[in-house]
Structure formats: structure tokens, C-alpha cells
């Protein structure tokens, strides 16, 4: 019996010839990522359990990326970044992206690939549920809690259950203004928010192979929104071109065997996909954008690990060029590299920042998570009242972006930008020819 990519990586990580879904195996971590929200708790447990004098299993394999508490003056948040800083210094962590210094980067899930920490065939654990993003690089990546992370920090390994794989085969030519975000929202709408609980979601087919890394990341990012343990796309030439530019470390690419076993297979024709939105307050309340034109919005938000990458801003700029927004439009680049691209990348010869300025958007913020998860009240872009926000982020639970009275509508950057122009949910094909 063949194995899926996920099974092959977990077999490698546990030093076995093969593994089967449902088996519990001890897996070695290639990378452990933590940030300013869960880092302090993880460090606290690590110290309590392994002792004040203990050291992390391998400083080279730990990546510490403060990214959530960048805007706030909240004293406890700032203390938490200090706790990370002190730990990075005492453990001599080479990969600490320190806020307020030239090494600062921004949102963990965009930082990890940019800085060369994502490599095919590896096992990554992160104290953030969207760690599944990195499956886009053909690796096994999953979110864990502080206690598990502290265990990994001390021992380098974790006992995990091998997930069954659920396969999504997408073939055909994606229509012009349909993005990765529309693909994954459609899938979550079909599966429901617990439709893939405990499972691996494997994305394949010609459409997926034709997608750039940024779009594959958007898709894998939201696997957790269907309850999955990990999302994964097999590494190919596109992956290698991205990864080799950023790391010289060796890695192994795995493919699923032809006779690998899946708990289910879904087939989609790309031509039938269209721009969609997820309505408040659940990522699986998915409707075609064109069917929601009566829904008025009060603000638009383009940012986060899901929708704050360079390619997401290029998409938004295509729509906003030469047009005006009619609602407050917040732009939050995920990382410093993305923030720089806003100045260096152009659409129709005009730099993105100028397009956004001329369209009347609020000046782009510092790279960070910002209002994607609400955060302290002084967080940039936070919904502090009954706003209706169309957002390129990944979650629209009650209170996710701030006030409980706010509503969040999830969309692609193209749809968010089109809606910012009209002030209501708008299919980007209304604005641009597809």
C-alpha cells in the first residue's frame, strides 16, 4: 500500500519505513516556531519543567517571531515581547526577529518562508493554528499549544497521531479574477468548519500546480478553518525556485504514491469557480460575491498571513488603480519585505503605494498581525464598534477583529478592493474585465 506525502514526511520524521493513519508516532521537529502571544507561556512552561539552567534542544531549529503586539502601548504586551527578547538572548537563538530593530520581519507565517525556514519534506511545529500555511512548501506543518511546544523545546520531539488524508484535485484554467482565497473558501464552504478535523488536506491537480507560492500559502493557511491538522501541496519546480533562493540547507521532496489511500477525494473544475465571500460569523458561510451585492460595508481591511502578501497587494492595486475607495480602507503588509514591495512593485508603471494613496486608502501600517485578531484596543485597524468589515484575513468569528458587535466578511484581495470602491460586497468582475 502506498503512502501520501503527509505519511511519508511523518515516516521520515519518526525514523520509520512507513506509517499509517491513526498510528501514534514520536516525530522529530525540524523547526519550532513561536511568537509573542504564545512564546512567553511556552518559555514559562519550558523553564518550569526543564529547569532554569536547561537549554533548548537546538537553537538553530527555533524561530521566534514577535508579530502580534507591534502597534500597542499595552504594558503586558510589551512585557511579553521583552520576555521573548530575554529568552532569545539567554538561549542565543539565531532566528529572533526583534521588533524595533533591523532584524524585525513581521507576521510569522510570511516571515518563515521569506527567511528560508520552510523546506520540503520537513516537520514544523508552531504555537499558532495557521502554522498549516507552510504545507504549501511540501512539508508537514501544524499548530500546537504551549505545553506541547515546551515539550518540543526541551526534547526536540512530539508524539502525534498520523492524520488520514483528504484529497482535493483541482484541474483546469482558473478564471481571471478568481484567487486562491476563493478556492479555499469554496472548499471550506463545502466541507464545513469541522469537515476535515484531525485530517490532512492535500491539494493537487493542474490548477494548483500552476499557482505561485503565495496562492498555495493562502490555500494551506485556511486548512485549519476546516479543522484540519495540516494542509499540503507537493513540492515542484515552483517550490524549488522559491526555496533555493532562500536557503542552502538540503531537503527532500516527497510525492504521494499512486496507490496512496485517501479518506475522501473531491474534484473541482477551475472554470466553475468564482469570487466568493464568507459571511459573518463563520468561515463556512460561503456565498458567491455577486449574490451579496446588497450587503453594505463600512470598512475594508487588506492584510494578515492570508491576504497581506506582496501578490495580495498587487491584486488589490489592479482594482484600485485610477479609482476611489468610499469606505475606510486599511492596508497592513505582513512583513518588512512586503512593505518594501509596496514601494518597489508597480501596476501599470505606478508604485503600489501611490495607487493606494490616490485611491484614498489609509496609509499602509507597519508590518504586523494588527487587527486580524483584534488585540488590545489601540491596535491599528481594530473594529471598536459595530463595523461591517470586508477583510482578506482568515477568521470571522464573533469578536475576532475587535468588538463583538462588529461583523467580518472574508474575501480575496480583489473582492475586498472592489467592495472598498462601491461600499458594498462586490464581485471584482463588476469593476475589471475578467
Amino acid at each position: 500500500m502506498g503512502m501520501t506525502i503527509t505519511e511519508k514526511i511523518l515516516a521520515r520524521g519518526s525514523g520509520r519505513g512507513g506509517v499509517r493513519p491513526g498510528e501514534n508516532v514520536w516525530v522529530m521537529a525540524d523547526i519550532l516556531m513561536t511568537h509573542d502571544v504564545c512564546g512567553p507561556g511556552t518559555i514559562g512552561i519550558f523553564r518550569r519543567e526543564f529547569g532554569e539552567k536547561a537549554h533548548v534542544f537546538d537553537p538553530e531549529r527555533i524561530v521566534l517571531t514577535p508579530d502580534h503586539y507591534i502597534f500597542t502601548k499595552d504594558q503586558k504586551c510589551l512585557r511579553n515581547i521583552d520576555l521573548c527578547r530575554a529568552f532569545a538572548a539567554s538561549e542565543k537563538l539565531p532566528y529572533f526577529y526583534d521588533p524595533g530593530t533591523p532584524s524585525y520581519s513581521g507576521v510569522c507565517h510570511v516571515t518563515l518562508p521569506e527567511k528560508g525556514h520552510c523546506r520540503p519534506g520537513e516537520v514544523m511545529f508552531g504555537t499558532d493554528s495557521h502554522t498549516c500555511t507552510h504545507g504549501a512548501f511540501g512539508e508537514f506543518a501544524t499548530g500546537i499549544g504551549n505545553t506541547d511546544a515546551a515539550f518540543v523545546m526541551g526534547t526536540g520531539k512530539l508524539l502525534i497521531k498520523v492524520p488520514a488524508s483528504r484529497r482535493f484535485v483541482i484541474d483546469g484554467q482558473l478564471p481571471g479574477l478568481v484567487m486562491g482565497k476563493d478556492i479555499i473558501l469554496r472548499i471550506i464552504g463545502d466541507l464545513g468548519v469541522d469537515g476535515a478535523t484531525y485530517e490532512a488536506m492535500e491539494f493537487c491537480g493542474g490548477t494548483v500546480s500552476a499557482l505561485p507560492m503565495s496562492e498555495r500559502m493562502t490555500i494551506c493557511n485556511m486548512a485549519i478553518e476546516a479543522g484540519a491538522k495540516n494542509g499540503i501541496v507537493a513540492a515542484d519546480e515552483t517550490t524549488l525556485a522559491y526555496v533555493r533562493q532562500r536557503t542552502s540547507k538540503p531537503f527532500t521532496c516527497f510525492q504521494s504514491d499512486a496507490d496512496a489511500e485517501y479518506c475522501a477525494t473531491y474534484r473541482y473544475r477551475a472554470e466553475e469557480l468564482e469570487p466568493v465571500v464568507a459571511l459573518p460569523h463563520s468561515p463556512d458561510l460561503v456565498k458567491p460575491a455577486k449574490a451579496c451585492g446588497d450587503l453594505r460595508i463600512t470598512r475594508a481591511y487588506i492584510g494578515s498571513c492570508t491576504g497581506g502578501k506582496t501578490e495580495d497587494f498587487i491584486a488589490a492595486a489592479r482594482v484600485l488603480k485610477g479609482r476611489k475607495v468610499t469606505v475606510d480602507t486599511f492596508l497592513v503588509p505582513a512583513t518588512v519585505e512586503v512593505a518594501e514591495a509596496l514601494r518597489s512593485e508597480c501596476v501599470g508603471g505606478v508604485p503600489l503605494v501611490d495607487i493606494f494613496r490616490q485611491a484614498g486608502c489609509i496609509e499602509p501600517a507597519l508590518p504586523s498581525c494588527a487587527a486580524c485578531l483584534g488585540g488590545p484596543e489601540d491596535t491599528f485597524g481594530r473594529c471598536n464598534g459595530p463595523e461591517v468589515c470586508i477583510s482578506t484575513t482568515n477568521r470571522n468569528f464573533v469578536g475576532r477583529m475587535g468588538a463583538k458587535t462588529a461583523s467580518v466578511i472574508l474575501a480575496s484581495p480583489l473582492t475586498a478592493a472592489a467592495s472598498a470602491i462601491t461600499g458594498r460586497v462586490t464581485d471584482p468582475r463588476e469593476i475589471l474585465p475578467s
Partner: protein, 181 residues
Amino acid sequence: MADKIRGKVFVVGDNIDTDQIIPAQYLNLVPTIPDEYEKLGSYALCGLPDSYPRFVPAGQMKTPYAIVIAGRNFGCGSSREHAPVSLGAAGVEAVVAESYARIFFRNAIATGELYPVECATRLCEELKTGDEVELDLTARRLCVVGRRREYETQDLGEAKAVIDHGGLFEFARGTGMMARN
């Protein structure tokens, strides 16, 4: 170590996400710092819509409810361990739900904060907030005090022993997987 948990239940519905269990503005509290742990408890479930009664009464640190009853996919969303920790810190001993989101379930066991029990019956439609119940973890049943009806719950398997010990690390030491410090 608990085998029988007796107390009042607090009933919620499906897809109770971690933002409702502990909203993001309280994640600046670090669970390993004792008074911040207590504070996390006082905010447990405060992200629920205002149509729910208060889980932790105003001005108090603990909840009067020992057990939370939920529908499907309890604890979906973020990996924040603050979620099971806040419930445990508030005094919750068990959640009985139709199903759980993966990371919450795992975090509940790893921290040893509470027993995440599954029950095939949709208890969130059978019970009311304030009902007094007895949950027997060994016999695997839940009964409502003063009513005859009993509900079968699912076996926690090895997870029960981990929680009985007080979480992953205590379990590892108690069973000789890790040296005592």
C-alpha cells in the same frame, strides 16, 4: 484525580471558537504567572454573545459551573492554550461536547486543565444552564440530578491518565518517561 464530577452545567451551542472562550485582548496574560492565570479564569467565555448569561459573575474570579456542555466542534480556531487554561482556572472540571476541534482537545489534555469528554447525544439540546449533573468518568455516563435519564459518554482512553496526573509533563514523570526534577 477525579472520577465523579458533580455540579452545575453551563450550556453552549456548536462551533464555540477560542475567541469566544478567551478573547484576544486577554492573551497578553501569561498562564504560567500565577496571578495572571487566575485573571485568565475570570475572563473565561466572556467572548460569548451577550444573549448568554455570565459565565463568571461580575467581580468574581471563579465560575459557579463545574461542567460546560457544548455541541459540535468546541474550541475551534486558534491554538491558544489560554482557552483550556482559562476554563480550568475558572474552576471548570470537564467539558462534555459532541465533538472538539483538534488543538483544543490536545491542549486540554496536555495542560491537564479539564476533561474533554465526548458524548454522541446532543446534550446541548437536552440540558439547561443551571441543571445539576453528575459526570462519572469511569462508568462513562452523565446523569441529571433528580431525573432518571442517563447519557452515555465516550471513553477518554489514555487521555484520562494524562489529565489525572495533571498534564503531559506530570504524566511523563509519573510513568518514568522523564526524570523527576
